[in-house]
């Protein structure tokens, strides 16, 4: 009934590393840290807050992709 038990899918560290990344970026993208970028300066025309959120988000995606593909 069950598929064969396979307790260790991938390296055991992977889950923990991914969880750490999720936690880290959750802090980066929330108050109080977010307040540091919540001012109306602009970089290359784009408001700082927009740019910060966008780039952090992109970094999160790239980091996840790297962690996930690394062991493959």
């Amino acid at each position: 009934m069950n598929p064969s038990p396979n307790p260790t899918d991938g390296p055991p560290q992977r889950g923990q590393r991914l969880l750490f990344v999720a936690g880290l970026f959750a802090v980066l993208l929330n108050y109080p840290l977010l307040a540091a970028f919540d001012h109306d300066g602009r970089v290359a025309g784009v408001p700082v807050l927009y740019l910060y959120v966008l780039l952090t988000w992109l970094a999160l995606i790239l980091l996840t992709a790297w962690l996930v593909c690394k062991a493959a």
């Binding site: 999720a22 970026f25 109306d40 784009v46 966008l54 995606i61 992709a65």
Partner: protein
């Protein structure tokens, strides 16, 4: 635009979806799946972006700036954790054949039918307005595009859209009675729609940013010039608080995991767990890209169309229309249509299965228990009922959604309804996460927590939307229900100062989590709950023993089970499933000849009984069709009550824990054993080498002994055989015999010496020595030899050196050895020069014996301290010693805890260095192998 043209394109687009879905189903039947890859999987997850994202994000951005992005950033933040959470849900659902969030929660908490019904109810109430929202989006976008009036035109478009999508869903979404079956046609269509909406939105965004404006900088520059728009650049001035932002993130995280449609595409339609790996970053990337242009479009709309009093939700269409790009507007409209239709299709499928399995089936399967004789026919009938009821549920859901849209939906802005839906679904989060990671959660806690959370959700988030003329009075909001100030929906119990969403989420989760955890702790779980908890929480660690052993114990005739499966699954699928079972458990099914007896000819007690494992298997098969609660009731109607005693479950769980622990201990011990084995093997190898060296040593020693013996014997024989030998000759022979015997004695005493050192029996008699005296004495001992060879011997050892604790005789032996070696090393025909130098080092004395002899090649420098090294080279050199001198020297130096080494080059002499410590170190315990070193 021309109405007919828009209608033609809409239907053309939907016809394309039908075609794609049909093609995918054909390919799937031919086992050449188009959807079994991570890219389609990730794209199908993008069903998360509905018409609300498509139109509503721009609307929200135009009012509140960046805060809309929280709804897409939340899933992005959660995605890395999918590897732990979502993968576990997928594994559990595959093992237990669960097909919806209601199945999941119901199965986890003791396969409770009432909990399943409750979850279904929450889903329907929470999500139907959300579907209505999509219908509204289709209708109003149609109206904006064709320029008709909002009344009749919109309703007509909405009705047509709902009708077509209902047809599509019934055709491709409800095909088989087995809900575990994947819908490849639907998935491919949804993936395609995700691509369409992405491309359409990007095109529009690029058009606005680079066509209407001169790029991002220009657009934001123009926006910055207007104070009202400049306010939207930051959270602070746009009025988004930290709490609201956090709430948006949390809400969207739970939504992407638990919304019925997300559960459907991410869990039920998942082909392989491994696809998750790519989806974990592709899906967030999709969300990022589709949101790139939301703010530019919002600002573009505000700048270009600001004065016209347009709803910001329609900017997406109004911008290209206002600038005369009607084809772009049509494309954008189709993108919105795809966003709305994919959401409607998948959400409806998921809801219809839930409604049929959790609202209708539990009622129907109770019926036959009263009349056993009609059971079989009733079951066959039920299978068809299940399928039909799901189709009807599709129609019902869409009818409800349309009704909601027609009734109240007109006034609602897009984004609020969506968020309220999210908050409804977020009520499942405690029960789901608790169910996955905490074994203590119980049915009672989950049910009451969910009920309370749902109640508070309704009070704080839904009630305010019902206020209006002809409905609830406004005083409810300002004065509280019944005039009670602490019952204000926006400030429950006087909690003021939060935005409505954070406020609602806070209170609903407060009661939800509080009751869930509190009640779970207050009453212990039942045996079935305990078993299910074990199955869910430990799904990755092991197969639950409890599930297999404490299942259906009663004696159930096999034909009854077969008939049950036949009724629901049909002949083909039943045979297939039983074959699969027989392959897994060859011992559980009776042999074929037993099974062919017609059941009617045998008395009941002679019928082959079904193995308990078969009953568990059948229950799971049926759970994939009817949901876990109905399947359990159905099986109970055949097999009698499930006999699970609390003690046996606890016993087995404890046992399996102990087994696990024992297993861990065993593994640890076997690792230790392995290490010991390795060490032993190393020691053995070392012994082997030593043994070989010993043999070699014995061989060389005997060889060395034989040479003088042979010459002694030969000379003695000559003397014996020739009595008339001349006296001078005889004397010469006798002298040689004497010398050879002396050499033999010396060799033997050296060997004995060496053995003494190696066996560790040698001891030192250390006394403080003046090195200069000892060296002088040694020099005198070899002076005769040096003179014979014409070698100059120079001693430069200062008398002021500190006294050296050493064994005088041994040290003398060392010095004489080195000096005589140096003398022997002299090159013939060149005057030899030998110097003995000494100087103090850190806490030792350094002694150097230097010669200008023939030197030692580098390769041999570390071998010369080996026993008989010289003897090995008898063929190449004439031996001038025993070959043991340096070996003994080295032993003596080491016994003094000193070091000896050589620096030399061929034809340039050699320098032997000895370092002897000044303080006598405590004798270190000899390691295991050191006594073997030669």
């Amino acid at each position: 635009m021309n109405k007919l043209l828009v209608i033609a394109f809409s239907f053309g687009y939907l016809a394309l979806l039908f075609g794609v879905a049909y093609a995918a189903e054909r390919r799937s039947a031919a086992r050449k799946s188009l959807v079994a890859n991570p890219y389609v999987y990730a794209l199908s997850m993008a069903v998360y972006c509905t018409a609300w994202a498509y139109y509503g994000s721009v609307g929200r951005a135009a009012h509140q700036g960046l805060s809309f992005v929280g709804i897409y950033l939340g899933p992005g933040l959660l995605a890395p954790a999918w590897w732990l959470v979502l993968r576990k849900i997928i594994r559990v659902c595959r093992q237990q054949r669960l097909t919806s969030i209601a199945d999941f929660i119901s199965a986890r908490y003791g396969k409770s039918a009432s909990l399943g019904a409750l979850v279904t109810g929450v889903c329907v109430l929470g999500v139907v307005p959300y579907i209505a929202l999509q219908i509204k989006a289709i209708a109003s976008s149609f109206v904006v595009l064709t320029g008709g009036d909002q009344g009749a035109g919109a309703s007509g478009a909405a009705l047509f859209a709902a009708g077509t999508l209902a047809m599509f869903t019934v055709l491709f979404g409800v095909r088989s009675v087995e809900a575990t079956e994947r819908h490849e046609g639907v998935v491919l269509a949804v993936a395609l729609e995700s691509l369409v909406k992405l491309l359409a939105f990007l095109l529009l965004g690029a058009f606005v940013t680079f066509g209407l404006f001169g790029g991002f900088a220009d657009l934001f520059d123009q926006a910055a010039a207007e104070p009202a728009l400049r306010q939207l650049f930051t959270f602070k001035s746009a009025g988004t608080s930290g709490a609201e932002w956090l709430t948006l993130l949390v809400l969207s995280m739970s939504a992407v995991l638990l919304l019925p449609r997300q559960f459907q595409v991410a869990v039920v339609e998942n082909v392989a767990e491994d696809h998750l790996r790519k989806a974990m970053w592709l899906f967030p990337l999709y969300l990022l890209i589709i949101n790139l242009f939301v703010l530019p479009i919002a600002f573009g709309g505000l700048l270009k169309l600001g004065g016209r009093g347009l709803d910001a939700d329609t900017f997406v269409l109004a911008l290209p229309l206002a600038t005369g790009h009607s084809w772009l507007a049509l494309l954008t409209y189709l993108g919105g249509l795809s966003a709305a239709s994919s959401m409607i299709i998948v959400e409806t499928i998921a809801l219809s299965v839930m409604m049929s399995n959790h609202l209708l089936m539990p009622l129907l399967v109770r019926v036959p228990a009263a009349r056993p004789e009609g059971q079989r026919r009733w079951f066959a009938y039920l299978g068809r009922v299940a399928l039909t009821s799901r189709r009807l549920a599709v129609l019902l859901v869409l009818a409800l959604a349309y009704g909601y849209y027609a009734g109240v939906g007109h006034q609602l802005p897009l984004v609020n309804t969506g968020l309220v839906s999210f908050a409804a679904v977020a009520q499942f989060l405690p029960a789901v996460l608790g169910g996955l990671y905490w074994k203590g959660g119980t049915r009672r806690g989950a049910t009451l927590g969910l009920l309370a959370g749902f109640g508070v959700w309704f009070f704080t988030l839904v009630l305010p939307t019902l206020v209006g003329p002809g409905r609830l009075p406004v005083s409810v909001l300002s004065d509280g229900v019944g005039g009670l100030a602490w019952l204000r929906p926006g400030a429950l119990f006087g909690l003021d100062g939060l935005d409505y969403l954070s406020h609602g989420l806070f209170w609903s989760w407060f009661f939800n989590i509080g009751l869930y955890v509190g009640l779970s702790l207050a009453w212990p779980p039942t045996a079935l709950e305990l078993r299910q908890a074990d199955v869910f929480v430990d799904v990755f660690r092991r197969r639950s023993l409890a599930e297999e052993i404490t299942g259906w114990q009663g004696r159930t005739p096999l034909p009854d089970v077969r008939a049950l499966l036949l009724g629901f699954l049909g002949k083909k699928r039943t045979n297939q499933a039983l074959r699969a079972f027989a392959e897994r458990f060859p011992d559980a099914l009776p042999t074929a000849e037993n099974a062919v007896y017609p059941a009617a000819q045998l008395p009941v007690h002679a019928l082959p009984a079904a193995d308990p494992r078969l009953l568990t298997y059948a229950e799971k098969l049926l759970a994939g069709t009817l949901g876990p609660a109905s399947a359990r009731m159905l099986l109970a109607s055949v097999a009698g009550a499930e006999q699970i005693s609390y003690d046996s479950v606890v016993g087995i769980l404890k046992e399996s824990q102990q087994l696990l622990e024992a297993n861990r201990q065993l593994q640890k011990q076997s690792r230790q054993l392995q290490r010991l084995t390795d060490e032993l093997r190393q020691a053995y190898d070392q012994l082997q080498v030593l043994d070989m060296q010993k043999d070699e040593f014995l061989y060389t020693v005997t060889h060395e002994l034989r040479t003088p013996l042979t010459s002694i014997r030969a000379l003695a024989e000559i003397l014996a055989d020739n009595p008339d030998l001349e006296a001078e000759e005889r004397e010469r022979f006798q002298l040689t015999i004497g010398r050879e015997a002396e050499r033999l004695t010396r060799l033997i005493s050296l060997v004995l010496d060496l053995e003494k050192f190696e066996s560790g029996q040698a001891s030192l008699d250390r006394t403080p020595l003046v090195l200069a005296e000892v060296v002088q004495e040694a020099a005198e001992a070899v002076a005769q030899l040096a003179r014979e060879r014409g070698t100059e011997l120079r001693v430069e050892v200062p008398a002021s050196l500190p006294p050296l604790p050493a064994d005088r005789d041994r040290l003398m032996q060392v010095l004489i050895n080195l000096l005589s070696n140096a003398i022997k090393a002299a090159v013939p025909g060149r005057p030899g020069r030998i110097a003995v130098l000494a100087w103090p080092a850190a806490d030792a004395l350094l002694l150097c014996v230097e010669d200008n002899g023939k030197g030692i090649v580098l390769a041999e420098q570390h071998q010369i301290f080996d026993k008989f090294f010289q003897a090995h080279h008898q063929t190449t050199r004439k031996p001038e010693g025993s070959g043991l001198g340096l070996a003994i020297t080295k032993k003596i130096v080491e016994l003094h805890q000193g070091r000896i080494w050589v620096e030399s080059a061929p034809e340039q002499g050699a320098r032997f260095f000895i370092e002897l410590p000044l303080a006598v170190p405590a004798r270190a315990a000899a390691p295991f192998s050191s006594s073997f070193q030669l």
